[in-house]
């Protein structure tokens, strides 16, 4: 708990110095290429506290961060935080759905592969997931997009809903799901591998244990042994992995969102890089880090709750 708070403080300090090192003149770059009187610039510098010593600036930065005031975007000239809040739902929907789907399908795949180890099922599941695991996720997205949206025309090429259709309610929801299909498929395929490999090796470890032999000796059916004795114990690392991956829900789809023009935090990041829109990047980095730190804490807590053996350590 204390560790998580400390890590977050580290992130804040790091963030401050990293962007202070490069960005020697934030006000100048804010009005880059525009004719603004020198006096206005000076006034703004004072208003942003940039004439103060570094220590005072840091305190100022801490206060502003605590109030979620991360400055003005260079690109849209809107408050950074407003842009971010507007983009959160799209990302949470897309990556959340993909994270759940990949965890469920990946775990089932891992169980099948381990239980039928060294059969054709195991080999095809393991090598299949390794192939998806080895390709850049956004490239998989590009291939799926060209195949299913451009060539076959089954799905839209991007965006979150059909523009100007004026749909609402259920119709809008269906339209959005239709738009989400390809990016969600991409992310699910890209995340699957990790779950399959972790589940498989964890279950293989458990399968060597004596208590399973005892369960079989009692005459229990194979399915019962698998589902009630082996799998629950093997799932512990998978639970941790799932919790940790949920921390990456906000930052997990940067390049894939860019490919599908999905208007979430990932696309915001990709656009901010092109600027470069430094206040936006700074705030996004802070948000992404905070999400991961919080979910790591949750993972730790669930783990000791699920597995009492951890308590003593």
């Amino acid at each position: 708990m204390l560790g998580s708070v400390l890590t977050l403080v580290f992130v804040l300090v790091f963030n401050f110095f990293l962007f202070r090192v490069v960005q020697t003149d934030p006000i100048g770059s804010l009005f880059r290429g525009r004719n603004v009187p020198q006096e206005t610039l000076e006034n703004l510098r004072v208003a942003f506290g940039l004439d103060q010593p570094l220590g005072t600036q840091f305190l100022f930065y801490l206060r502003e961060s605590a109030q979620l005031n991360f400055g003005i975007s260079y690109q849209t000239r809107q408050p950074v935080w407003n842009e971010i809040v507007a983009a959160i739902p799209a990302t949470v929907a897309l990556v959340g759905v993909s994270a759940i789907l990949s965890a469920v399908i990946g775990t089932i795949g891992g169980i099948i592969a381990a239980w039928r180890r060294n059969t054709w099922k195991d080999h095809s599941i393991t090598s299949g997931t390794m192939v998806f695991y080895s390709m850049p996720d956004f490239w998989l997205g590009m291939i799926l997009l060209v195949l299913f949206a451009v060539v076959l025309g089954w799905f839209p090429v991007g965006g979150v809903s059909t523009a100007g259709s004026g749909e609402s309610g259920i119709a809008l929801l269906i339209d959005q799901a239709y738009h989400m299909f390809l990016p969600a498929l991409t992310l699910t395929l890209a995340y699957l591998g990790e779950y399959t490999l972790v589940t498989r090796s964890s279950l293989l470890d458990v399968m060597g244990e004596d208590y399973l032999t005892v369960a079989r000796a009692k005459g229990l059916r194979d399915v019962v042994v698998r589902n009630h004795h082996a799998v629950p114990n093997a799932l512990l690392p998978v639970v941790t992995l799932t919790a940790i991956n949920f921390g990456f829900v906000l930052s997990g789809a940067i390049a894939v969102e860019a490919v599908f023009s999905w208007p979430g935090l990932g696309k915001l990041t990709a656009d901010a890089i092109r600027g470069p829109d430094l206040p936006m990047l700074q705030a996004l980095f802070l948000l992404f880090s905070a999400a991961v730190i919080i979910f790591n804490l949750i993972a730790d807590l669930t783990y000791s709750w699920l597995d009492p053996r951890v308590e003593g350590q």
């Binding site: 192939v131 956004f138 930052s251």
Partner: protein, 297 residues
């Protein structure tokens, strides 16, 4: 003593190779990797580097967006450049950045892991605190902010990947050093008057080398994929076009809407093949170094 140690080490290498040779997936990985290394080395023989220059391509009278059937072997892009030349020369950049970043990763990770594990005490606590921080902070966003701040060139990209991906290596090596440290021959060397430096270089290092090597092989895929993603997001070196850079240019210039598959399929397949090759080799080495891990069973 040196010659004896050398002999023993050569014998170990021979044994590892013997075990490696019987692993089918390991050998497939090695074969694929050799093929790409050969291609990268022989790039000047396979494709004229001038084909990468749009001015030259125009003067040559290359067609624009030509599919492979019209301009062999892989067609041309939006500014008439040969995609084959980009593929061949891109392999050099991708492999170089991947390998160099891995060397940096392993270097930082090993130094921190060995110091932490061997010295122990306060330095260990401080180093592990830092390691934990780097482990927790999301890797790609960290790489993105660092790369945005530092600027777009190959060396910065290598630095960024190295500085963001060493922590897992450091942890692994530290754990291994801690177990090696308990072994009898370390006590023996110490009681014979060996100093810390001697113990680390002669006893600890040789015993964690296998793990370092296996870990390095598994770190290359991460380095290559990170470089690809950074390049795709526009953080790649404009003067050294990697496969990731090719994918970015294809995407930005509308290759997908045109269905110009020849522009972006080869580079992605190249990445896939190299990453898969390193993964297969790394897993095989890992199984040899640590038989308990054996995944096939």
């Amino acid at each position: 003593m040196t010659s004896l140690a050398m002999q023993r080490r050569r014998a170990t290498a021979g044994r590892v190779w013997k075990q490696f040779r019987i692993s089918r997936s390991g050998m497939i990985g090695l074969g694929v990797l050799l093929l790409f290394v050969l291609m990268a080395l022989a790039a000047p023989l396979l494709a004229d580097a001038r084909e990468l220059n749009p001015v030259f391509a125009r003067a040559q009278g290359n067609p624009q967006w030509a599919p492979p059937s019209e301009f062999g072997p892989l067609g041309t892009d939006y500014i008439r450049r040969s995609v084959w030349a980009q593929f061949v020369w891109g392999s050099r950049v991708s492999l170089f950045v991947g390998l160099a970043a891995t060397v940096l990763t392993i270097l930082i990770g090993s130094v921190i892991g060995i110091i932490s594990g061997f010295v122990g005490g306060k330095p260990d606590a401080v180093l592990m605190r830092i390691t934990e921080w780097f482990l927790v902070v999301p890797f790609l966003p960290l790489a993105i902010v660092l790369a945005s701040v530092l600027g777009r060139n190959v060396w910065n990209i290598i630095f960024v990947i190295g500085i963001t991906s060493w922590p897992s290596t450091a942890r692994l090596i530290r754990a291994q050093v801690l177990t090696v440290k308990q072994r009898l021959f370390v006590d023996r060397a110490r009681s014979l008057g060996a100093n810390g430096r001697h113990i680390v270089s002669q006893h600890i290092l040789p015993n964690v080398m296998g793990l370092i090597l296996a870990n390095a092989t598994l770190a290359v895929p991460i380095s290559i994929l990170t470089e690809t993603t950074l390049a795709f997001l526009g953080l790649g070196d404009p003067s050294a076009a990697s496969w990731g850079k090719t994918l970015e240019e294809a995407f930005v210039n509308g290759a997908m809407v045109r269905n110009a598959w020849w522009y972006f399929v080869p580079a992605g397949l190249g990445i896939l093949a190299v990453v898969l090759a390193f993964t297969l080799i790394g897993r095989t080495l890992e199984e040899i170094a640590n038989p308990r891990l054996s995944r096939g069973r």
